[in-house]
Symmetry: C2
Subunit: 120 residues, 2 copies
């Protein structure tokens, strides 16, 4: 257990039911019963999903009488967006470079374009 935070968040949101729960919680805090209502799974299953989201830091829970409302804690999302944006931009940048390169030499004998290449 206890994988790196990024893996946990990605993994937590890889489930449609869990993403759905996040969508609901974005509107407002809710209890397990309220969250389970739209689905035809047991309460325990939803409780498990909630625990996964909690473990990933997506959700926090409080105590309020016998209810334990779940609250969306959207800060961890930044972790993901930062990772994603980094490589998306890097890939796009590379694409632009290659594009410019191809445009700059329209008649060269095409040196195979091995960016990482370096085969021995």
């Amino acid at each position: 257990m206890s994988a790196d935070p990024l893996s946990q968040v990605f993994s937590a949101l890889a489930d449609p039911t869990r993403r759905d729960i996040v969508a609901r919680l974005a509107v407002g805090d809710a209890t397990v019963n309220e969250l389970a209502e739209p689905y035809d799974v047991t309460l325990q299953a939803v409780s498990k999903h909630l625990k996964v989201l909690e473990g990933a830091g997506v959700v926090t829970r409080s105590r309020e009488g016998q209810r334990r409302p779940a609250h969306l804690d959207a800060e961890v999302f930044d972790l993901m967006t930062k990772w994603i944006e980094r490589y998306r931009q890097q890939a796009e940048e590379r694409y632009r470079r290659l594009d410019a390169l191809l445009e700059a030499m329209p008649d060269e004998p095409a040196p195979k374009d091995e960016t990482t290449g370096e085969r021995k």
Copy 2:
């Protein structure tokens, strides 16, 4: 098989090795052998990872002699960022509203703040 695209992308990136591969591919295209080199897993394992990324639309592959270079296709990332940003902003918006509400009534008997509430 064939889960929704969003689940597939999230799931694909939930593995650290796979994220690592994406990071490498952001620098430039690479073959299975090149990608497998830094890890002490078998070639087949990396080939599987690549297939997962391909299935998620994160990576495309071409044929070039006997090599099959993998290329990062960062467009699907937009799908994720859109989803994430949506609920992050929604949650932050809700937070601001609640904050303003609490500030506006500093002595009310606190009507329990049930945003979804509505229990029958």
